[in-house]
């Protein structure tokens, strides 16, 4: 296909991409730690300079394990801060330390509603914040749009957690990922990512990723209660 030189120049800009190919990101992405995912993300990793909206079907599917390799890289290798705004539950230090996050550069902020969005905006202003994780279940479209504008001006990696119900709403975030469990009986340790929006078109089929899990799924102890001796000793001590 012949294109005029002026058009070719426009097309080579990083903020212009053609609908049928993956966009080139202005900033190289942060490797997610999962090669299959990196291959599908514009810029070859989690993109900086834009919101990454994550929509997990529910808590506990592995949505944090998905981010931990990138966060560990930002925290330990890049020596930047990781800021959590309004996490749904208290982060548990031993697990975060084990995942490779430098706790000396982790900041946790409890806030609700407008305060949470304000805290996000301040974190994006600050120098030295490498990643921002925010849980904004109530954020409306205008809040998201403002955050996206701030994100475009910063180099911070921003993960925004929103409830799965928000999938149907439109969002200014350039990358939106639905997180669910892979629905295969024998392969239940995997997580299924639905790239519902990205620069370069949505991905039709869910992307299945093997996350680092506390134990391999094959260890499943199906059925009966664990060890009878444990149960006995517990009831014995309770009686004592």
């Amino acid at each position: 296909m012949a294109t005029s030189p002026a058009l070719a120049e426009v097309l080579s800009r990083s903020d212009v991409w053609r609908g049928d190919s993956l966009a080139q990101a202005a900033l190289p992405g942060v490797p997610s730690g999962f090669a299959a995912l990196d291959a599908e993300l514009p810029g070859g990793g989690w993109p900086r300079g834009g919101l990454v909206e994550l929509l997990p079907a529910r808590q506990g599917l592995g949505e944090m394990s998905l981010l931990m390799p990138a966060l560990a890289r930002i925290s330990s290798a890049e020596m930047s801060w990781v800021v959590c705004v309004a996490p749904p539950l208290p982060p548990y230090a031993p697990a975060w330390a084990a995942a490779g996050i430098a706790l000396s550069r982790l900041l946790i902020t409890r806030a609700v509603g407008g305060d949470a969005a304000w805290a996000c905006a301040r974190a994006l202003d600050a120098d030295g914040v490498g990643a921002l994780l925010a849980w904004l279940p109530e954020a409306d479209a205008s809040t998201l749009r403002r955050l996206q504008l701030l994100a475009e001006k910063s180099r911070t990696l921003i993960f925004l957690f929103r409830p799965a119900a928000a999938i149907r709403e439109s969002s200014p975030a350039p990358l939106r990922i639905g997180i669910g469990a892979a629905n295969q009986a024998n392969d239940c340790g995997r997580v299924a990512l639905r790239l519902i929006k990205r620069r370069g078109g949505a991905l039709d089929t869910p992307l299945e990723i093997d996350l680092a899990r506390p134990v391999p799924i094959s260890h499943a102890v199906a059925g009966p209660p664990p060890s009878a001796t444990a149960a006995r000793s517990l009831s014995a001590t309770a009686a004592a």
Binding site: S65, W81, Y92, P214, H219, A231
Partner: protein, 444 residues
Amino acid sequence: MRLADAWALLPELSVQERDLARELRHLESLACWAGSFTSEVLLVPPDALLLEVQGSIRLFGGIEMLLARILDGLAAQGYATNAALAPTPRAALWLAAAGASGKAGEGRGCAGVYGTRIPRCLQATDLRDALALLPLDVLELEAAQRRRLAGFGARCVGDLLRLPRSGLARRLGVEFVSTLAQALGEMPDPRERYRFPDTFRESLELPARVEDAARLLFAAQRLVHVLSGWLAARSSGIVRCELLLEHERGSVTPLELAFAAATRDPERIVRVLRERLERLLLRAPVASLVLVAAAPEPLPGREGGFFGEVAASEGVSLLVERLRARLGEVNVHAIATCPEHRPELASVPVLPGSGSGITVPGPRPCWLLPQPQPLVEIAGRPQRNGPLNLLAGPERIESGWWDAGEENAAGEVRRDYFVAFSRQREWLWIFRDADGWFLHGLFA
């Protein structure tokens, strides 16, 4: 003019008695403020302040920039000033006095922003010419001396400088001649410099009572700049200071400001103050403000980055301050691991930046529930929307006999922990104790 004459001319004249003590307090407050520019500040009561700025010229990017900052700062505080620049203190005072009366001689310095408005003399060699044009009334002479001078036809300082000194000494006194020599820099002019107070307490009476907290910020900024000057002169910073909002009838609302690291940056202090004031509901109108700071910490001047950059950690400590000012100190924290077997005590909130982690053998969840959540047991298996699959365990945790039965303590625990996998594909951390099954964490 007598007061009676003044009233006769202008009956609606309102008369205030001059309060020299208050003037002196204002002068001292200005001296503190001027500490931002130099630590060598001299008070010349009732109305003059001398700043030794030779050492500060380079730091502030040249004499023009320095002058502009000093004069802008004074104007922002509502002071009308007459400034002058000279190599000796006395010459500076005289040039300033001449500037006030509009009879300043043409300075020889370069013209800048404040160009012609400020009489200046930058070189000691130009001093003689600069002073020569000054009228004699800037010299603060006694009446007898003034009469005598008029008698021999001297009209400006230049006329005096042309006369032989020994004759001047005989006619006007040795003291006058040495004053002249000091102004010219021929004789030393020792002066005691202002001693900055050990603790800072600066008050500001508001011109009108203020009922809206947000409007206090503007007035408080002025105090903050004085504080910043005081800190700069002492090469120190504060991590804590207090703004007292004084109401009528003696009641006071204290407002404590805390900083993540010692600072004396007025913008940073004002930013924290703004967050606090925006959230404040006033009980009563405010009549005056008092800014109190004790215990400053040593804070050496910051060296500029090689390429004008700001250290990253400084950016984050600013962030921490702003978040803490608005959201409260307990809501902005870091986490650290604590060597403790009981899981709920192994993770503790700590000050931002002081988090540290040791890893624990055995799987630990990313989120820990604040309170274990009971799970139903059916046919010996814990349930959460269906039976749970136990993937690993048991991990026996048995500890804490020492604070059993104490209030607000975790107490003694005897638990078997398991990693469980639910029908909804959730990874859970559950335990069983004598009371049954409980959900304690989520491996998200």
